[in-house]
C-alpha cells in the first residue's frame, strides 16, 4: 500500500498510519474568464487517510471550496491527479463518478442546499433515490435512521422553511449520512450559524467521525473548531502553506 509518507508535502503522522482514502497530486485549478485568469489552486499535494477528521483553513478566496469540489468529484482540476482508494478518477466515466459521489461521499454546505419543495424526509432520502436497487421502504428506513442520529425524528414531515438554521444543517447532515458515505465534505457547515448552534453541529460531526469512523474534510474559518480536529491544513492564495 502506498503510504502518505511517500508524498513530498508535509503530513500529519495520523494520516501516515491509516490506509489512504484520497490522494491529490500536483493539483492545479485555473479559472479562465474573458478578462482574467484566476489560479484558484496551485500545485496542491494532499493525502487523507481513512477515518481522519481534517479541517481546511485560509482566507476568503484562497481556493478552499474549489478544492472541496475537486475532492467531491464535482469539478475537474486543470492538471494533476485525484486518486480515490488508489485509482485515479480520470479513468472513471461520468456515470461512475456519479456513482462514487452517491456511494462514497456526503456533502454538507454552508447554505444547507435543502430542496424547499420537499419535506425533511424526502430531502434526506435524496441520495438513496439515485442509488439503484433501493426500495422505497428501505429508503424510508435509512432516512429515518439518519434523522434519528441528528435528533430530528420528530420533524420528518416539516418543510425546510419551517426549521431553524441549525435544524436545517442537521437535516443536511442527515442527508449526507443517509447514503452511508465513507467521506463527508463539509464546506463551512457552521458558517451561517451562531456559536451555540455551531458547537452543536461540530459535536455531531465529531461524534460521526469517532463513533462511525467516517472520514471528514471540513472547511472552516473558526480556529477554535479547527483545533478540535486531528489535522489542520492551511491555504493561502491557492497554495498549501502548512
Amino acid at each position: 500500500m502506498n503510504l502518505a509518507a511517500a508524498q513530498p508535502s508535509a503530513l500529519a503522522p495520523a494520516a501516515a498510519a491509516a490506509p489512504v482514502m484520497l490522494r491529490l497530486t500536483d493539483i492545479e485549478k485555473v479559472y479562465q474568464t474573458k478578462t482574467i485568469e484566476t489560479v484558484a489552486l496551485n500545485r496542491v499535494n494532499l493525502t487523507i487517510g481513512q477515518g481522519e477528521f481534517v479541517s481546511i483553513m485560509g482566507p476568503s478566496g484562497c481556493g478552499k471550496s474549489t478544492l472541496l469540489s475537486i475532492i467531491g468529484l464535482l469539478d475537474e482540476p486543470t492538471s494533476g491527479t485525484v486518486e480515490i482508494e488508489g485509482r485515479p478518477v480520470t479513468s472513471y466515466s461520468d456515470k461512475e463518478l456519479a456513482r462514487l459521489r452517491n456511494e462514497k461521499i456526503g456533502f454538507v454546505f454552508q447554505s444547507y442546499h435543502l430542496i424547499n419543495d420537499l419535506s425533511v424526509l424526502d430531502n434526506v432520502e435524496l441520495p438513496l433515490l439515485y442509488r439503484a436497487g433501493v426500495s422505497g421502504k428501505e429508503r424510508r428506513r435509512l432516512a429515518l435512521a439518519a434523522l434519528d442520529k441528528v435528533g430530528l425524528s420528530a420533524r420528518t414531515g416539516h418543510f425546510p422553511s419551517q426549521l431553524s438554521g441549525g435544524q436545517r444543517q442537521r437535516v443536511a447532515i442527515a442527508r449526507a449520512l443517509a447514503g452511508g458515505p465513507e467521506l463527508i465534505l463539509a464546506d463551512e457547515p457552521t458558517g451561517n450559524l451562531d456559536s451555540v448552534m455551531g458547537e452543536e453541529i461540530m459535536d455531531l460531526l465529531l461524534t460521526l467521525n469517532r463513533a462511525e469512523g467516517v472520514t471528514i474534510i471540513m472547511v472552516t474559518h473558526d480556529e477554535h473548531q479547527a483545533l478540535k480536529t486531528e489535522r489542520v491544513i492551511r491555504f493561502f492564495d491557492g497554495s498549501q502553506v502548512q
Binding site: S69, R99, D122, L129, Y130, G179
Partner: protein
Amino acid sequence: MLRHIFRLIWNRKRANLLLLSEILFSFIVLFGVGTLLFTFGQNYLLPRGFAHQNVWRLNISAAQGEKMPRPVLDDVLRQVRALPGVLDISLGSPNTPFRFLTMNSEFRHGNRKSDITDRYDADDRYLTTLGLTLREGRWFQARDDANPRRPAVITQNLREALFAPGEPVLGQLIQPADQGFQATGQEEYQVVGVVENVRPGSDFSGPQSGMWLRLVPYDTTHWEGAAVLVKVAPGQGPALQQRIVRTIAGVTRQWSTEVRTLEADRLDKLRVTLAPLAALAVVGIFLIVNVALGLFGVLWYNISQRRAEIGLRRAMGATGRGIGHQFLLETMVLTTLAVAAGLLLTVQFPLLGAFGGPPRVYGMAMLLATGVVFLITAVCAWQPSRLAARIQPAAALREE
C-alpha cells in the same frame, strides 16, 4: 423516481398551475382546430351526389314589366337543346348547387319531422342534367301530369329522417312540418323516388337533406326569371356560351341571359368558405406558437431558478443525463396531467352530443390535440432540459 417527481410537482402546485393551464389551453385550441379540420376533411371525402362538371347555369331574366309566357320559354329551351354540344337542359329553381341562395323548410311524415331541408323545383330532365344518383323509385315523368298531388324526390338522409329503416317510402305522403293536421290534402307531396345524399354547400360542407318537387309551370307569365341548367359536352367553352346567349336573344329580344359554369360557382363558394378558415388557422397557429414560446420561457426560467437544486442532485449522485431526463419527465408528467384534464373536458362533446358532431371526429380531434401537445411540450422542454444537464454542479452550488 416517478413518485419523487409527482411529489415535487404536487409540492410546487402553485408554480405549476401556470404551466398546466397553458398546456390545457393549447390542448383546447388544438381540439377546436382539429374538430373543424376533421369535419371538413371527412366531408371532403364524401361523394358530392351530383356531377357539376360541364353543367352551366343560365340566368334568363325578362325585361322590366315583361312577361315570360310558357310557349316562349319552351321554345327557348328547345332551341338551346338543339345546339351542337348541348347534351341536356332542365328548368328548375334558382337555388342551384354552390349558390349563396337556399330555400328550405321542415317536413313531416306521420309524427316524424325532418331537419331543415333544402327544397328545389325541378322538371323531368333535372336528374340527368345534374347527374343525381337514383336509389329507389324513379324521377319525374310525363305521366305525373295525371297525379293530383305534387310528386317529390327526396335524398336518402331525408328518407332516414322521415321513415323507419325498411319502411316503404314510394307513394308515401310528406307534408310541410308547419302545416296543421286539419289542412290535409292542401299541401301534400307524394314520394316517387329517393336519390343519394347531396352536398350542395361547398367542397367542405356536409350532406344536406333535400327534396325536389316537380315543377309544373303550366303558366309562367308571372315569372321574372328562369333558372336553367345545361349539360354540355366536355371541352365546351365561351364559344358555346355566346351561341346560347345569341340563340335566346333570337327567340325574344326582351329577355337577357347570363351563362355561368357551376365550376365557377363552386370556386366562388370555396373562396368564401376558405377565407375564415385560413384566418382561423392563422389565429390557431399564432396561439400555439405563443403557448409554445411561453412554455419554453417558463421551463427555462424554472431551470435557472433551480440551478442550486441541480447542483445538489449532481452532488447526491445524479448524472448530467439524469438531470436532463428528470426535467423532461417533469414536463411530461405535467403535460399528462393537463392532457388528462383536457380529455375529460372535451370528451363531454361526444358524450353530450354537443354541436351534433360525429363522435369519430371528436375522437380524432382529441387524439390530434393529445399528440400535438405532447410534441410541443417535448420540443419546448428539450433545449431547457439539455441546458439543465450541462449545468456545472460546482458552479451551481457556489451561487446562492
